[in-house]
Symmetry: C2
Subunit: 374 residues, 2 copies
């Protein structure tokens, strides 16, 4: 069931039906502009990760500011972007199964599409799907640069897989996927620098070994919101896959800069607007947003501009708040902005973004790839 | 975007596109029958909680076995059930906001609908909505029986609110909502008995005080899968709101019986079917099901009938597995059943149930109230 739109353009923020996914458009545009400005002097281009926003509308706003395209994790996300007019899409992930590969190949007739592999059997499966579809599919080799998840080892293993791809008449070798996910949320700049330093070394070494075998890397892609300034200055990475920067979240807000202060490059622009539905017990208020409205996998949400209120626990449809003083306890019907602990899965709870500027609803955008799990 | 159906009836389980929400129909029907058999000799009726399954198809199967109706937490869930033909629905929760109350009152023209309140201002708001709609709304008083979330104090506060409801010509006093959520997952039967003992005492006392004021309680409702046998034997509770029993999950599987063994009343019937998408690194395999496909708020999923494999961490679209021995490591393309840590929010990730019996797809049912957050 599609959720009903929770607002109409022109409404005041307090009139939005809750829980609702709200974008502060001023902060959001600041983030888009800031990323473009940060990357302009580097050799790297933005290929923003659409697994965060799941929206061809937002992807287009990123491309308007210089992004070369988007990346996604799932074929269903690629479909939502391609059907929404995005011309260049990288599935920065492995895709397994004949039906998914057939869908991906079909998409390549309307958009430039590429996919990753870390297994020779998978390269053969992509080759068969591309042959069946009568297209050539671009395939990147994913290398493990420290995340210990997907990816072959940098160096000879990666070169062997790249050669297997390059030798196929149904495939095109597209370069390296070299994302270090676990480095993104390391709290100190030193930790992030050390981990990404290793990723850069591994990528550089592999690029050089590929070059020795006559293989160029059109794409060397990776990086996220936590570390993109390091990769973009490396001279090795040429595509930056940051996604969360458009919205930020409570977990990214815990990353620190060299002065030990929260990194302030980007602003919080994404909120779950929520209503107090019960205040029957002293010291407690209960919101209408629990697990089904806000993701807690990276910690509880925080309350925007209300440090005196703590979101202490979530159940499926309730969020329990404790308040510092009874006089400031929010009343039944009062609306509060939650800053999600983790933006990507929170966005996936909703069918609609409500864009707000200075207290007034300006637009509604569909979360087009919501639930795109396949 | 509605997810594409991941299967066609008649397929083999291994042909289902993943990640997918799979019901083992034999285990599921066993659970339905077992609950009916457990409640038959008690004075209590089942009003199964549809926040678990979000499906009028499953609600009907529960009513076929004697349930008086269903309860839900949100108006959007009530809509999905009423539109699907369920004739008796209790919103076991507070509903705040004029637009939500108008929707609820509109529903009462096609189904018997009731709602809870724990605040006099809210009773007035429900009264105004009912008056506007030209209907009478049944309202239960929610009392806090230990969960410290919503609900007025048992006893005089509850009686005062009930009298306020009963005196309105637009409202009908429907009884007491007395659910103790935090007792459901206490691991030992002694802990559960103690907490529910308190809930029963508080409910009985309030029922008696209401009776002294001439108010009967048509419904005294509460209980969940972890404690329903205690409430149903109490002589006070007459409606049991268990939901998870139809599916069970890894968290409920940690509840113990008097012999210190996992409670075995119900069987696991709900799984997220998932495919290995990478096995490029020793000792590790990566599934295509992460935060977007399985809820981790009550712990990581377990792997069905594969205790040698651990699901150690989730990212948005990946689940990382470690394996006991390299020889038994699942291969790329292999499909595994995950037992979700928490069934309710996991169901909310999907648009379709795939019903499987003995390895073959028998049916697809929509998760009609998926995303019903309002």
């Amino acid at each position: 069931m599609l959720q009903a739109p929770p607002a109409i353009p022109g409404m005041r923020e307090h009139e939005i039906d809750t829980p609702a996914l709200v974008i502060d458009l001023d902060a959001f545009e600041y983030n888009l502009d800031t990323m473009a400005a940060k990357l302009a002097p580097t050799g790297a281009k933005l290929r923003a990760h659409a697994k965060t926003h799941k929206s061809p509308v937002i992807a287009r706003l990123q491309m308007d500011r210089g992004a070369v395209g988007n990346c996604v994790q799932k074929v269903a996300e690629a479909e939502a972007l391609a059907w929404g007019g995005i011309p260049d899409i990288l599935v920065s992930n492995e895709v397994v199964g004949a039906s998914k590969l057939a869908r991906l190949c079909a998409l390549s007739r309307i958009s430039q599409v590429a996919v990753c592999a870390d297994d020779e059997g998978q390269v053969s499966a992509i080759e068969a799907a591309a042959s069946d579809a009568g297209i050539r599919m671009t395939v990147l080799v994913e290398i493990d640069v420290g995340a210990a998840r997907c990816g072959v080892a940098p160096g000879p293993d990666a070169v062997a897989l790249a050669e297997r791809i390059a030798q196929s008449r149904h495939l095109i070798f597209g370069g390296l996927q070299a994302y270090h996910g676990s480095a993104q949320h390391k709290r100190t700049p030193e930790e992030r620098q050390t981990m990404i330093g290793g990723a850069i070394d591994a990528s550089r070494r592999t690029v050089e070994q590929l070059k020795q075998r006559g293989l160029d890397c059109p794409i060397v892609g990776g990086a996220g919101t936590g570390t993109f300034e390091i990769e973009s200055a490396s001279g090795v990475y040429n595509e930056i896959q940051a996604g969360s920067y458009v919205f930020m979240d409570a977990d990214y807000a815990r990353n620190l800069d060299a002065a030990g202060q929260p990194v302030s490059t980007f602003r919080h622009s994404l909120f779950v607007l929520s209503t107090v539905m019960s205040a029957a017990q002293p010291g407690i208020a209960v919101l209408d947003a629990g697990h089904k409205a806000v993701s807690v996998d990276s910690g509880m949400p925080t309350i925007w501009q209300r440090p005196d209120i703590k979101y202490v626990s979530a159940s499926d449809e309730h969020g329990k708040l404790t308040v510092g003083s009874e006089t400031e306890r929010p009343k039944v019907g009062e609306k509060l902005r939650l800053v999600p602990g983790h933006c990507d899965p929170t966005v996936d709870r909703f069918d609609w973004y409500v864009g707000v500027r200075q207290g007034r609803v300006e637009c509604l955008w569909p979360v087009a790839a919501r639930g795109g799990v396949t």
